[in-house]
Every structure is written in C-alpha cells, then in structure tokens.
Amino acid sequence: MAERTVVEAVNDALTLEMARDDRVLVFGEDVGVTGGVFRATEGLFTKYGKERVIDTPLSEGVIAGAAIGLAIAGWVPVAEIQFLGFAHNGFNQFVDQLARVRYRSAGRFSAQVTVRAPYGGGVRAPELHSDGFEAHFAHAPGLKVVAPSTPHDAKGLLLASIRDPDPVLYLEPLRGYRQVKGDVPDGDYVVELGKARIAREGTDVTLVAWSAAVQVALQAADDAQAQGISVEVIDLRTLVPLDVGTLTSSVTKTGRAVVVHEAPLTAGFGAEVVATIQEEAFFSLQAPVRRVASPDVPYPVQMLEEQYLPNAERVLQAIIATTRD
C-alpha cells in the first residue's frame, strides 16, 4: 500500500498487467520513449521494449481500428488516446467498429481492447483538449465506459478493463491526475466493472458524479453538511453498464437527487442518470432530479474556464434547492 496519484495508479496497473500477461500491448501517440504526455506509460518502453510499447502515427482512428485487428490476432491491446476530444477523429472506428466486433461477427470474434483517454477540463489546456464528451461513447452499444475518480479505483478498474473480454473506454480524470492522491494497494486487484461506489453516506440528498466531478461533489457535500443537509455521494465509476441498483436504493432512501457532470447539459450523460432514477425510484422522489452541468457552449479558452465548469458552489445551490422543493 502506498500513496499514489491517479496517473501513478494507472502506470502501476499497466506495469503490472504487462508483466502478468505478455499479450498486452501498449500503443498510442507518444506513449513510448517519452512515456506519454502525462507520463502514464512512463518506464514501460524500457521494461517491455519497442514491440510491446509502440509510438503510433498521429491518427486516433487507426489506433482504435488497428486495436481490433491486434485483438483478433490474439493480442490484448491497451491503446492511449492522448486527449479524449481527439477520439472524435476516429469516432466511426470506436462506435461502428470497435464496439461491434462481437456483434458484427455474430460471436466469431471479440475485441479485448482497452482504450485509455484522459479527459475533462480545469487544467488550462488549449481548446478541444478539455472536452468531456463521455456521452458520445455511452451511446454506442457494445462499448463499456469506465470513469474512475480515485487512485484506488483507477488501478483496480484499469486491471478489470484490460481483462474484460469486450472493449472498454477507460476515461482518466485529467484534473485529478496529479491532484487526487490516495492509498493504492501494491499488488494485483480488480474493481468490478458496473459497480458504483458510495463515496460518502448521507440521508437527505443523493448526489451522483463520476471522474473529476466526484471531488467537486464531495466538496459540495461537505458544504451542505455545514448547513445541516446530509448528502450521499455516489461515484458511478462505470457509466456503461450503469449500476441502476445502487442509484435506486440510494434515491429510495433520500428521495432527492442531483447529478453533476462537466460536459454540456443537453444530451449529456446526466440525462441518462436522471431518466433512470425517475424510472426506477419515481414514487420515492420528493423533488425533481436536478442536473448541474456546463452550459451548452463549447469548452472555452483558459480565461473563461473557471466560470464554465460546475463548481462546488453551484452544486451546493442545487442541493439546497432540491431540499426546498
């Protein structure tokens, strides 16, 4: 057990799994000698060599597409997309091909592929580098979408993702990469896909978040506590498949819910969470489920970034409002 950052936990999982399973290949833009622009793949090139740790040409589509072929050849690809926003450049390979290998081949082939991508804002990156469009990938049957918020889960979920027989998009919280620290067991462990985590127990309001927004949610929960409101924070950890049970039992208990995410409001993944909650726990609900999200504006340049992203204050306002309904 050691204290680690999220990016260290990712590196830990990759190092471990490459040693354990020599079918694992790591590739993407700048993952080799330089160890990735965020150092997530640091040390792998030296340890596992140029056949297993490969710098690719600058093309997100072929990174995702080639992963399919590599998997069919018997490898276990763990590809990196440098920033999630650029996965749009190969979106067809993700949604129409990678997600459907098993389905399109009616079961003959499958794609044990993990695509890792850091995402989200708050790190003063240039335009398009901060985009958080997880919802685009959540609406792609066949693709699992995982989005841890803590170092512990980052490692355990990455190991689970790599070992999952089907394709997983594994999202890393850019804002939490070095900021969020926590205890990470040294050895091998997995965190099961499709299981949410109660990040904080509470009784009055359920607050749902994932990835970097979990920290914002926890902060808001603290602030609410100070005002006498007990908030239960659910860290979804996996968006697809969604842990409907955990959501339902929490909302059944609290009767109120708020969902927070960084992506723009309209058709964001928060809508799915809201729709699901009201489907499953309608008669427990005392108030509408509120969404705290970014406005329907593209991610702005740096000087406007702070005002754009949901912050603890906005979440707190939503929590208070929901208790007053």
């Binding site: 072929v62 080639a66 072929g69 050849a73 082939f109 089907d166």
Partner: protein, 366 residues
C-alpha cells in the same frame, strides 16, 4: 535533405510525378496468352470454376431480389477475376481475407460457404459469423472501415512471428476515406504484411473515378506511404494472381505492404437499389462487356485446349446444381432468434439487456 542548391522551378506543373510499372497483363481481350501462364492448367480451371460460381450466384441473387426474396445486395458481376485471382495467391491455411462487400467470388475461393452467402442476402445474421476457423473477417458495409482492422491484424501476425499475411479488399471510392489513408500509413510504418487490393471498378455508385480523385492511377497512392503500388488488369485472372502472389511473397518476407490496383469494371448494378442507366454511358458499358473476365478465361481455356466446350457446359451444370443445393439448404436455416443478437453484444449480457431480452421473450410468448 539533398544538399545541392536549386532554385524553385518556374513552373510546378508536373515537377513531381509517379514512376509506376506498367499495367500487369497476361491475357489479351480475346483470351490470347501474352506471357507464360503463371499457374497450372488445373489451377486455372479451378479458378475459372470459382469465378463462374460467383457470377451465377450473383445473377441468381439479383433475380431472387427482384422477386422480393432477398434484401438489397451488391453484385460483383464483372469483377470475378480480380477477387478470385487475388484469393488464389493466398494460402488459406495461414492467410486472412478481409472483405468489403463486393468480393464474394474471392471469398468463395478462400472457403466461405455458398449457403452462408445466400443467407447473407436474406439478411440472416449467421452470414456474418465466419465459420469454423476460416481466416476471414465479416462483410463490411462502411466503406474502408475494415482497413485499419486489417492492418492491425497483419501487424499482430507479424508480432507473433506468424507467417500469415492479410488481403484487404476495398473499392476505388474507398481510397477517399481517411480510414484508408490512416491504415495504409500505419501499415507502411509497421511493415505490416498486408496487401491492399483496390478494386477500381470505375464507379462509386454514380461517382466516376475522375470525381473521386485527381490521381492518375490509384496504385500511385502507395507512394504516399513508402511501399510499392502496382496496377494490374483486374479482368485477367492471371495478371491479378501473379501480381498479388508477388505482393504476398513480399509481405511474407517481412518487407511490408503492397497496394495492388485491379483495374476492372462493375458490369452489374451498384446494388439492386441502383439504376445505372441514370448515369452510366452506354458505350462505356459495352466496352467493358467486351472485356468480360469470364469470357476471356473461357476463350483462353478453349484456345489452350485446357478444356473443350462440352467440359465448360458441364461446369456450368455443376455450378448450377451447387447453387441449387446451397439455396435449398439456406432456405432450411431457421430464422434467427432475437436472443441470438442480444447474446452477442458482450460476452456477459448486461442487466439492461437481460431485461430487454426478457421483454422480447414475453412478447413472443403471448
């Protein structure tokens, strides 16, 4: 960087150009052999038989489609030499065939069963389940979508020190897609053992090759990726075979990819939903009818006395019978159950899907 001084040329037209080998051709239009036959007579005859099988299959399916018994389909009529010739250059024990949707004849050579081919055209999902351990990916509807996968597969084989190579087939229209470019570029860098077989059939639906690209040949696009490109007469079984055979040897040798442009023509419809009379010049069609690869092979087989007319007729009958049997069998295949597909989204069905599946089952029961 070349170190000599050099002023900017006063006129850039044509300053850079492709130096390309001439079009590979073994048979002239009348089936006269111009070079040594690159395969045995038996093999030539067997190739002919599979070309014919593809042709008669497509004709049969177009007619079944007209009767409302099949879904929209894209016949490969006129392109049989291109796809069968290429498939013949593979070793089906080790090598992979990665199709688009217009190379069924070649796939038949490689081992894809006729019965499944029929089921494909009635919209049965089992057709996508490439059977047994046949080294083939499923049909692909997204133009060029299969190419990154083919390159990944080839790269993966090479990494495993597997001797297999990958034949990836696509059309002239496919060269305009980013997927083609990104795949070819990666293949060059990785020296992936892949043969890009571009069937230049003159059309992407109604779009001509001149509207598709200003490149004089499609083969020369390989220059952008640092590997060889070569044109062959796509209506000449021997030319395609001999060219792809060299490309396969090169790939197996660890020297990387080759782009083979098979110059052919779509003698049929784009798909059964298409009406070429809206856009195809009559003369162009007729010109290519004269270049029919099947007729060319027949003339060759006869003139070389590999077979006589009676034998050709016998082959026609045999193929007809095979098709009849396969179609009969295909019709006996039970309709797919929805659970067939629910079960194949993930290995482990998600709770939400299980719920949907139960609803389906309930609906069905009553």
């Amino acid at each position: 960087m070349k170190e000599a001084a050099r002023a900017a040329p006063a006129n850039l037209d044509g300053v850079s150009s492709a130096s390309m080998p001439p079009l590979v051709r073994y048979l002239d239009q009348d089936g006269e052999l111009l070079e040594d036959q690159p395969m045995s007579d038996e093999m030539a005859l067997e190739g002919y038989r599979v070309m014919l099988r593809g042709r008669r299959f497509d004709e049969r399916c177009v007619s079944l489609q007209r009767q409302g018994r099949m879904v929209t389909l894209a016949p490969g009529i006129g392109q049989e030499a291109a796809t069968v010739g290429a498939a013949m250059a593979l070793d089906s024990d080790t090598d992979w065939f990665v199709p688009q949707y217009r190379e069924l004849a070649g796939q038949l050579w490689h081992g894809y069963p006729l019965k499944l081919a029929f089921l494909w055209h009635v919209g049965h999902p089992i057709a996508f389940q490439v059977p047994g351990d046949l080294k083939m990916l499923p049909f692909q509807a997204a133009i060029a979508g299969q190419l990154p996968q083919a390159v990944g597969l080839a790269w993966g084989l090479r990494l495993k020190r597997d001797s297999g190579v990958v034949l990836a087939v696509f059309g002239d229209g496919g060269t305009s897609q980013g997927d083609f470019h990104e795949a070819a570029n990666l293949a060059g860098v990785m020296k992936a053992p892949v043969i890009f077989l571009c069937q230049n059939n003159g059309w992407a639906i109604s779009t001509t090759i001149e509207q598709q690209t200003a490149s004089e040949t499609l083969a020369q696009k390989a220059i952008a990726y640092g590997f060889p490109g070569i044109q062959c007469d796509g209506n000449d079984l021997f030319a395609v075979y001999a060219t792809v055979r060299e490309a396969v040897a090169r790939a197996r040798d660890g020297k990387g990819p080759t782009l083979v442009e098979a110059v052919t023509y779509r003698l049929g419809l784009h798909t059964t939903a298409d009406d070429p009379s809206r856009y195809e010049p009559r003369e162009m069609h007729e010109l290519w009818v004269d270049r029919d690869p099947l007729r060319r092979m027949q003339r060759h087989l006869i003139s070389r006395e590999i077979v006589d007319r009676a034998a050709l007729d016998r082959i026609e009958d045999e193929v007809k019978e095979e098709l009849r049997v396969a179609w009969d069998e295909a019709q006996k295949e039970p309709a797919p159950d929805p659970s067939f597909y629910f079960a194949q989204v993930h290995r482990d069905t998600s709770p939400r899907l299980r719920r949907d599946l139960e609803r389906f089952d309930r609906n069905r029961r009553g």
